[in-house]
């Protein structure tokens, strides 16, 4: 076709200043349009991009061209298909000057294969013509089609072969197997499947064609059934794969949304905090504070699934962490929390939490310790909370009045709900407040093991 174009050029294109005759311009328009030579458009293609190319070349809608092609297919009894394929062969793709045919000419094996396949079809059609006129009229043009397709398949560029692969994908149902063993197994399965469906097809068609007189009812029916099963066998895996792809796509979308959610959260919290930390680098206390607050927030989101704004407290563990949060924020002292087990709150345990909060705030205010440790353990019959610091400590015999008052409020609160509080302290040794609250039987929630030997 390239040569043809050059021929056109020679008689179409006189020197630019040589006074181009009107008819030549019209002819050139006809062949080259306004936007350049006729080229297949690989960006907007269903098969070879011929329709899209024609549409672009003539400046009409591609849908219109396709409708015309389909109507023409019916009117010409199928001759449009080989015409289309010839177009695919000879019209170069956009941005290129070489067509598939220029390569196919030198492909002797491809030529032989095309001829062989075409003759095979001819043979088949000769037999078929004896029985069914309809099949034959639509079948004959496809002799050309088969030859063209073979040549295109063997000689088109890789990207175009991709289109062909997609068109014949129904024949190949392999999912994305990665191991070579898996691939080999899958290709053997494909061969088996193809073989089985071919046998069914041949038997079905031959019954349809041959037996329609003697077994006038049974034959065509069985033939139809066989053809239908052949189609299912052939296309079934493809349909399955489409369904599977849909599911995969949905999963991918969900993952992308999740990633976006994480990204926005990290941006809202971690990145903002990092920016704040950079601004306040000269204030170590503030930096530590920011870092700890961020760590706590991130931890509760990652491991407990709580969003930053969620402050509702329904369990003992959440209550303890709320104390940690508040004391760290207000008194700028790190609070190390360890909880073992968890249970839902009732009024007694809420009182326990209030006492634990008092003890923690006390330690933060008075002890001067650099860190406060809060330990909570839920046992089957009781809940223990221990608040400990390594600070100044005090002599329990000689406590200042204000401190004694707080201590009393802890003691009193615990006693009112059936629990008890012990305070161990000595000057220079730090302080430890241990709060114990018995659990009532009907409390639901986490149940640690009852078979423990306990003190």
């Amino acid at each position: 076709m390239q040569e043809q174009w050059h021929h056109h050029r020679r008689w179409q294109d006189p020197p630019p200043d040589g006074g181009v005759p009107n008819w030549a311009i019209r002819v050139r328009r006809h062949y080259r349009g306004d936007g350049g030579p006729l080229r297949r458009d690989p960006d907007d293609r269903l098969a070879g991009g011929v329709a899209a190319g024609i549409a672009a070349w003539r400046g009409i809608g591609v849908t219109a061209v396709r409708i015309v092609l389909v109507v023409a297919f019916l009117v010409t009894q199928g001759w449009v298909v080989p015409l289309y394929l010839i177009g695919w062969l000879v019209i170069p793709p956009q941005g290129s000057d070489t067509n598939v045919w220029s390569r196919a000419r030198h492909d002797s094996r491809g030529m032989a294969l095309a001829a062989a396949l075409a003759s095979l079809l001819v043979l088949f059609l000769l037999i078929a013509t004896l029985n069914s006129q309809l099949l034959a009229t639509y079948g004959w043009p496809q002799v050309v089609s088969v030859a063209c397709l073979t040549l295109i398949w063997r000689n088109a560029a890789d990207s175009e072969r991709g289109v062909l692969t997609r068109l014949i994908v129904p024949l190949d149902s392999r999912p994305g197997t990665t191991t070579s063993g898996g691939r080999r197994r899958a290709s053997r399965a494909t061969k088996l499947r193809l073989g089985a469906s071919a046998v069914l097809l041949v038997v079905g068609v031959s019954w349809l064609l041959k037996e329609h007189e003697s077994f006038s009812l049974l034959g065509p029916l069985a033939g139809l059934v066989l053809i239908a099963s052949a189609v299912v066998l052939l296309l079934g895996p493809w349909w399955l794969r489409i369904a599977r792809d849909l599911v995969l796509e949905r999963q991918a979308r969900a993952r992308a949304e999740e990633r976006a959610d994480i990204a926005s959260r990290v941006h809202d919290s971690v990145l903002q905090t990092l920016a704040l930390i950079q601004h306040r680098a000269e204030d170590p206390q503030a930096v530590v504070q920011l870092a700890r607050a961020q760590e706590r927030e991130l931890r509760s989101w990652l491991f407990e699934g709580r969003s930053p704004g969620d402050t509702e407290v329904t369990s003992l563990g959440e209550g303890i962490r709320e104390i940690q949060r508040d004391v760290e924020a207000r008194h700028l002292v790190p609070v190390e929390v360890v909880t073992v087990g968890d249970c839902t709150l009732d009024e007694h345990l809420s009182a326990l939490l209030a006492a634990a909060r008092e003890a923690t705030v006390n330690a933060a205010k008075w002890s001067g310790a650099s860190v406060i440790s809060v330990f909570a353990e839920v046992e089957p019959d009781r809940v223990i909370v221990a608040v400990r610091d390594r600070g100044k400590g005090f002599d329990p015999e000689a406590v200042p009045d204000d401190r004694k008052g707080v201590s009393e409020s802890i003691h009193g609160r615990m006693a009112r709900h059936g629990g008890e509080a012990t305070v161990q302290s000595a000057p220079g040794e730090g302080t430890k407040v241990t709060l114990t609250m018995p659990r009532t039987a009907e409390q639901p929630g986490y149940e640690p093991k009852p078979d423990e030997v306990r003190r």
């Binding site: 931890r299 407990e304 360890v338 087990g341 440790s373 330990f375 353990e377 640690p448 003190r455």
Partner: protein, 218 residues
């Protein structure tokens, strides 16, 4: 044991590695670094350090992959796990693979150096958080359908004393403080902790896995 333990750092954050190296440099002999499972195994087998400081989370399979690979050929290399995120199931997995202890990345340099020395001397190092995890893991009662003949039922439970020691560790007590609190020697505290570690690693108890799985769900 030489005065300066030989240490290999395994962490995928270069920033963290260089920070630890700078801080530990004077007290430890940092002989190698690695940022992932495969290079870590290589450098450990080459250097044969006393202690490997091992991040729980590594891109190529997690800290336990390193431990499992090295333990086969060099069981004498000791591992101290550390991480920033400490999801309980990950930490327990690394300990069960064979790490001699676990500390968080927020640990101070002095404490880290102390922990490395203790691991090098063959002791176990539990951070307060790990102590909490272990108490939690061993606290959950085996459900009836989970009771199966155990190879050694002793391994499936903590003794009262071990439990007490763990509780005090969880409250931030040092071994010395625990010894004083419980009127026992520091050596005895270390024995209890090592015994807990052994149970943690050897227990065939299904519960440990199930507990971790449940933790992830809640």
């Amino acid at each position: 044991m030489s005065a300066q333990p030989r240490v290999v750092l395994v962490d995928d954050h270069g920033l963290f590695r260089s920070g630890v190296r700078a801080e530990l440099g004077r007290q430890m002999d940092v002989v190698g670094e690695a940022d992932d499972v495969a290079p870590a195994i290589e450098v450990i087998q080459q250097e044969l350090p006393d202690v490997v400081l091992l991040d729980v989370h590594l891109p190529g399979g997690g800290g336990q992959a390193v431990i499992t690979a090295v333990k086969q050929s060099h069981p004498e290399v000791k591992f101290l796990a550390l991480s920033a995120s400490d999801a309980p199931e990950d930490v327990i997995a690394v300990i069960r693979a064979g790490a001699r202890g676990y500390v968080t990345k927020t640990i101070s340099t002095a404490e880290l150096a102390d922990a490395i020395r203790r691991v090098a001397d063959g002791d176990a190092v539990f951070s307060h958080r790990l102590a909490g995890f272990v108490l939690d893991a061993f606290a959950a009662a085996p459900s009836p359908q989970d009771v199966r003949p155990s190879f050694d039922p002793e391994l499936d439970q903590l003794t009262t004393r071990e439990r007490e020691v763990l509780r005090l560790i969880a409250q931030g007590y040092t071994y010395k403080e625990i010894a004083r609190e419980l009127f026992i020697s520091v050596k005895t505290v270390e024995t209890h902790v090592s015994s807990v570690l052994r149970k943690l690693q050897l227990s065939s108890r299904h519960q440990l896995t199930r507990w971790a799985a449940e933790r992830r769900l809640t």
